[in-house]
């Protein structure tokens, strides 16, 4: 920790280092794109234009970003408690299931009630799916990384079974449920803009974005402004000290993981209640895994997570447009770029941190020497 002990200025830690990490990931991706026989600079400009070039694109970018805010927050709260929740994918699937059941159960009474219950259902089922691995980690010492991964596989099979069995659209062939009843949905934001007399092109961005942002504020408040959040972070940083101070480590593990699961579960609000209006097999599409990248890129802070989610949203939307323009670049390549961003932003942190710290220390000492 010799070099790391010196503090970097806030802006260098929060902006410069993530930017360098991202640049490195893009550099490697650019080399792959070049090797595939395409122009990486053209690809980058197509990507940016596809993500922000027109109003519908912006709507899609924010729509994907909403998913990533939920899953990124989910990973980060578990991380603050010292755990790796790789089960965001499965928790999101179960969240989607809880949401769907609530919609069908309550929409007969009132669509508004159905939406409220759907939000609760999503959070509850997601939390329940995280509870089991958390309990097993806390009480039986089972490795939470492996159990959450297993729970992803189990969730995926469970959903596959329900969607070709009891929950399948009557008479349907696809692994999907019947359409949600009219009114049981979250309003697209362009309609809300319209109410205020502002026109915005139609797009999938919906009220879930606002819910996600509220969740981010909630996570920030919980972690840094409450006694509970303080204890949670102490458990993550030094479980022995926490236990000595009378905080139950196993209880904290379970609660943190359940909040994490609830956040991941709420991803379905955006995908299902906001856009698809039915439960689809495999609707999570790896968003739960991307949450890991988002959390690390965003330094596990809600503001950083929102920015990183926006970046990944742009990568998704821009990538889809790019795949349309350049046939050799497929969705798979976008997945590879995500992997590289995770590698550089999450695991290769020291690659730039140490040299940058050295440079800053040098500047500091020259300044002091001059003074």
């Amino acid at each position: 920790m010799a070099a790391g002990a010196k503090k970097l200025p806030f802006w260098a830690d929060a902006i410069l280092l993530p930017a360098l990490n991202l640049l490195a990931a893009f550099l490697v991706s650019g080399i792959v794109i070049w090797a595939l026989g395409e122009d990486p600079f053209l690809a980058l400009s197509l990507l940016i234009d596809g993500a922000f070039g027109f109003e519908e694109a912006i709507s899609y970018t924010f729509y994907y970003a909403t998913n990533f805010i939920f899953t990124g927050l989910a990973v980060s709260i578990a991380f603050h408690a010292g755990h790796f929740n790789i089960g965001g994918e499965g928790q999101a699937m179960l969240g989607g299931l809880g949401l769907t059941l609530a919609v069908f159960l309550f929409s007969g009474l009132s669509p508004f009630l159905a939406v409220i219950m759907a939000i609760i259902g999503a959070a509850l089922f997601g939390a329940a799916w995280a509870y089991v691995p958390a309990y097993l980690q806390a009480k039986r010492g089972s490795h939470i990384v492996i159990t959450t991964i297993m729970f992803n596989f189990i969730a995926s099979s469970l959903l596959a079974y329900l969607l070709v069995g009891p929950l399948q659209r009557p008479g349907g062939q696809m692994p999907e449920s019947a359409d949600f009843p009219e009114g049981a949905s979250l309003m697209p934001l362009h309609e809300i803009f319209g109410m205020f007399g502002k026109t915005f092109e139609d797009g999938p961005m919906n009220v879930s974005l606002i819910i996600a942002l509220l969740c981010a504020v909630g996570v920030w408040f919980l972690l840094w402004r409450t006694r509970f959040g303080y204890e949670l972070r102490v458990v993550g940083q030094n479980p022995n000290a926490a236990a000595f101070a009378g905080v139950s480590v196993s209880k904290m593990t379970i609660i943190a993981m359940m909040i994490s699961g609830a956040l991941a579960g709420m991803m379905g609000l955006n995908e299902l209640l906001g856009q698809q209006h039915r439960l689809l097999g495999g609707f999570t599409l790896g968003y739960g895994f991307v949450g890991i990248a988002v959390a690390f890129m965003g330094r596990n802070h809600p503001v950083g997570i929102i920015l990183a989610a926006l970046l990944f949203g742009a990568l998704y939307q821009g990538g889809a447009e790019l795949a349309f323009e350049m046939p050799t670049i497929t969705r798979d390549l976008i997945i590879m770029i995500q992997g590289l961003v995770i590698l550089f932003a999450g695991a290769l942190e020291h690659l730039f941190r140490d040299p940058v710290t050295k440079i800053f220390t040098k500047i500091q000492t020259t300044k002091e020497g001059a003074a």
Binding site: G141, I154, L158, Q338, A347
Partner: protein, 323 residues
């Protein structure tokens, strides 16, 4: 006699299915014994499955495939080593990143080279490690009991399965009977002591990564050129994670790990046999539930049967010389 025939067939597929699991679990074991946690086994297996299938498809030789598979896996192992050992990065994040990057890169390259929607072309028999039939297996097949054991269970596997049977004792011997193994185990428990003795922690850990790379490379190769006939998207299907679970169940020891892998292999073989079969009392189990079986078993085993386990003490912790 039907039960016996079933059992023979189950045992036969258990060996087949367990082969990549055993190799991968041993790879994880060597890494963690040396102090590096490798959750990227999955990605290494997938990368080598792709490299092996692609190379075998182009050259027509499974051995060229094996070389490419092992090569790809070693490169990724060194990357993980660089992140974990030299850069002191987070090892779980690094492993996940490698898994995700490979899951994207392999089908991209497959699509670029072969234009078959992210797969490699179907491999002909000459480009695969096909099954080896032992002498007299055909003529002995009708001899009761012994014939079935010899011709079904012992004979008729691909060469990598037979290699695996040799590799398990080899790894155990290396770990417990050689100087390198002693140092490797020490570096996973107490790297300071190894360092004080004037032995390079870094070098030892990189050596462990290379060994893991070779083992994972074999596992990937057997997936696409032995058990299968080409690379398919996501063909590792969580086997890398199952292997890690088997390693924990086997308490980081080669022979118990082998047994754990055989158990996983057996459950997987069983779920294959259960598909579409009506069981007494329960009736037919939906296929989605039989597919869940190995994963559920993993959770139960990790929760209930492992007991208090002690991972190698320094595994997952980067070694820093200067403190």
């Amino acid at each position: 006699m039907e039960f016996f025939a079933d059992l023979v067939l189950l045992t036969d597929s258990t060996f087949r299915i367990a082969t990549p699991l055993v190799l991968t679990a041993l790879a994880g074991l060597v890494c963690e014994r040396g102090g590096v946690v490798d959750i990227g086994l999955e990605g290494k297996m997938l990368a080598s499955a792709f490299a092996a299938a692609a190379s075998a498809a182009v050259t027509g030789s499974p051995w060229a495939g094996m070389a490419a598979g092992i090569g790809a896996s070693i490169l990724l192992a060194l990357l993980h080593g660089y992140v974990s050992i030299s850069q002191r990065g987070n090892q779980i994040v690094s492993g996940m990143a490698i898994n995700i990057a490979v899951a994207g890169l392999a089908p991209t390259l497959a699509n670029f080279w072969f234009q078959k929607g992210g797969q490699t072309p179907l491999l002909g028999d000459e480009a695969r490690f096909s099954t080896i039939t032992f002498p007299f297996a055909e003529s002995l097949a009708d001899v009761p009991v012994i014939g079935a054991l010899y011709s079904e269970i012992l004979s008729g596997h691909n060469i990598i399965t037979y290699m695996t049977i040799v590799i398990v004792p080899l790894v155990a011997w290396m770990l417990y009977k050689t100087r390198f193994g002693l140092r490797l185990r020490a570096v996973g428990e107490n790297p300071e002591a190894v360092d004080t003795a004037g032995i390079s922690v870094t070098l030892l850990r990189y050596q462990a990564m290379v060994i893991a790379g070779v083992l994972c490379g074999l596992a990937g190769t057997v997936l696409s050129t032995g058990l299968g006939a080409g690379f398919i998207r996501d063909m590792s299907a969580g086997k890398g994670y199952l292997a890690l679970a088997a390693m924990i169940f086997g308490k980081w020891k080669p022979v118990p790990t082998l047994l754990a892998c055989l158990l996983f292999g057996f459950v997987d073989a069983l779920q294959g046999r259960l598909q579409g079969v009506a069981l007494p009392l329960i009736g037919e189990i939906p296929v989605q539930f039989t597919i869940m079986l190995p994963y559920v078993l993993t959770v139960i085993i990790l929760a209930g049967f492992v007991g208090k386990i002690q991972a190698p003490r320094a595994s997952g912790i980067p070694y820093e010389k200067d403190h």
